[in-house]
């Protein structure tokens, strides 16, 4: 973790890495992901009228280079929203744009890290990481493997490059999963409770690694979790979703003066943020009530 990693990967990424702290102004507030009055409904049964409104006219922004955490009660549609951004689900109203282009389906500009590592068991760690590059045809095999090696080093798996998933622990599999998502150099990294199924100790390590990697690569990330501490620890911003139909009830910019290390979790400022998020979750209202949420146009 403390070791200096080769910078070749960081230099080759499309988004410029941030030189200093990740908690700065983000590239003059360039809107990266832009959701304008997005609604998502899905059919819950076979009958036509049994539709569920999962997301209700939601406005949501992610700026370039930001790590935004979404928390909310279970079933509030946070995963649904993430799936819509990934392009798995069509939206039923509003506009959903990435870098000004509407999202119509899955694409290599967004990479998803699922809660379940879902590595292909018949591929070694290396070949799992190159998978996305192979599928999208972004790179030839040799350079793809070179980058995969760099990424596996970055996530601390130098010694397991040729290992097959059944020889890797849950935490290691999740690292490979992360490396696989980063390999395609996504404009937006989507993480759906990626650390929910690993043990507490591994989770802390992985969180610190994710922060370091995000800083190193400057990748923009949308992180769904139900863990408030995790959200405040990782997020530049924490968005709280209301219960279904989901909308943003609270949008908190996390500004922690010290660089985030596990010790900062006990600082007074950190705990104040947690209280704020918890308050919003419990009361169902926060700094972004329905009234002051006037629709804005995407820039």
């Amino acid at each position: 973790m403390t070791r200096e990693r080769p910078t070749t990967f960081a230099a080759s990424i499309t988004v410029e890495p941030h030189a200093n702290s990740a908690h700065q102004e983000f590239e003059a507030d360039v809107e990266h992901l832009c959701a304008d009055g997005v609604s998502i409904t899905y059919r819950s049964g076979t009958r036509l009228e049994s539709t569920v409104l999962a997301i209700d006219t939601m406005d949501f922004r992610v700026h370039r280079g930001e790590l935004v955490c979404i928390v909310g009660p279970s079933g509030c549609g946070k995963t649904t929203f993430l799936n819509a951004v990934a392009g798995f689900l069509p939206i039923t109203g509003g506009r959903l744009e990435l870098e000004g282009k509407p999202i119509t389906g899955p694409g290599p500009d967004r990479a998803m890290v699922f809660q379940n590592p879902s590595l292909l068991p018949w591929r070694s760690a290396l070949r799992n990481v190159t998978y996305g590059l192979e599928m999208s045809g972004l790179m030839r095999r040799k350079p793809a493997e070179k980058r995969a090696r760099e990424l596996l080093e970055m996530v601390g798996l130098d010694d397991f490059i040729e290992a097959y998933p059944n020889k890797l622990s849950g935490g290691m599999q999740q690292r490979v999963n992360l490396a696989r998502a980063l390999a395609v150099e996504p404009e937006l990294l989507l993480l759906d409770e990626p650390f929910a199924s690993v043990d507490a100790q591994t989770r802390e390590t992985l969180q610190a690694e994710l922060l370091r990697i995000c800083k190193q690569t400057g990748v923009t990330a949308l992180f769904v979790t139900h863990d408030i501490t995790e959200a405040v620890y990782l997020g530049d911003r924490v968005c709280v979703f209301s219960s279904r139909p989901g909308r943003v009830i609270c949008d908190i910019k996390v500004e922690l003066s010290t660089s985030r290390d596990p010790r900062s979790r006990r600082s007074a400022a950190f705990i104040a943020y947690i209280d704020e998020v918890a308050e919003a979750l419990v009361t169902g209202s926060g700094n972004r009530g329905r009234d002051d949420n006037e629709p804005r146009e995407c820039r």
Binding site: A86, F88, P106, G107, P108, A111, M112, F114, N116, S118, L120, P121, W122, Y131, G132, E134, M135, S136, Y164, P165, N166, V184
Partner: protein
């Protein structure tokens, strides 16, 4: 074998707490071997004793030694290789044909929903029919020679392969498909990188079942008329009450079945890691 015994010895001397799993496994294997061998030897001895007591005439139950002698006689005759070749050929060609057709059609049924809809009625019908009952038809259509026998072996073996292949594709873990789709994989890419490797364990279990079916097919095909073959040999011997020879033929079938199944099982174990 001897090294395994040595490992087991050191293992039994070491305290149980510190036992390494590897040594424990070797221990188990030796134990399995010993118990298995003893049970077989005891059975053979009882069999020999039973026949030595002459409770039943040897026409009904020949002694194990008689069976071995009959086996020796069998291999002394010059035509045995013709018989083995005939049976082996039926087995090999029928099996290969069944494997190729079963895998290809199974993949098509599993991958293309509509192909499944079209072919499912026929597959279900043929699977439900006792396929050996089709042999008279096969003789009418293909004659009494090698072709009809290969056709029968094919027919009994193709369904296990076909059905497990298609169910392998259909039961693919959706998380892998989702991953592939997430990275923008095309249908062909998904097929090549997810569906095909994911269904290999299923294909192999289908093949293992098919091997057993193939042996049944070979025997039945030769039972109903053949010029050469182990099954034919057994039928003729049975007609002449050469019971020991029947047992010898049975032994050949059994050995072939055990060896082939063990071979496939070994390949299967190699791909065990692919079922995650």
């Amino acid at each position: 074998m001897s090294s395994a015994t040595v490992a087991a010895d050191t293992e039994s001397r070491a305290p149980k707490r510190t036992s390494r799993p590897q040594a424990q496994r070797a221990d188990r294997r030796t134990e399995k071997m010993i118990y298995g061998s003893i049970s077989v030897i005891v059975l053979l001895a009882m069999w020999e004793l039973l026949t030595a007591l002459k409770i039943e005439p040897s026409i009904l139950l020949p002694s194990p030694l008689e069976v071995v002698r009959a086996l020796g006689d069998m291999f002394a005759s010059p035509t045995i290789w013709l018989d083995l070749g005939a049976s082996g050929g039926e087995l090999l060609y029928g099996f290969l044909l069944a494997a190729v057709v079963g895998i290809v059609v199974g993949l098509a049924i599993g991958w293309y929903r509509r192909v499944g809809y079209v072919l499912d009625p026929f597959v279900n019908f043929l699977y439900a029919v006792p396929r050996i009952a089709l042999f008279p038809l096969l003789i009418i259509w293909l004659g009494i020679g090698l072709t009809s026998k290969i056709a029968l072996v094919f027919l009994v073996a193709v369904f296990p392969v076909l059905i497990s292949t298609s169910s392998g594709i259909r039961s693919l873990d959706p998380q892998y498909l989702r991953t592939a789709i997430c990275f923008g994989a095309s249908d062909l890419q998904i097929f090549r990188t997810v569906a095909l490797p994911g269904s290999i364990p299923f294909i192999l279990s289908g093949i293992r079942l098919a091997v057993g079916q193939c042996l049944i097919g070979v025997f039945v095909a030769e039972l109903l008329g053949a010029q050469h073959g182990i099954g034919m040999l057994m039928t003729t011997a049975g007609d002449q009450f050469q019971t020991a020879t029947v047992f010898a033929g049975l032994l050949i079938f059994a050995v072939a079945g055990v060896l082939l199944t063990a071979l496939v099982r070994r390949v299967e174990r190699h791909f065990d890691a692919w079922r995650l």
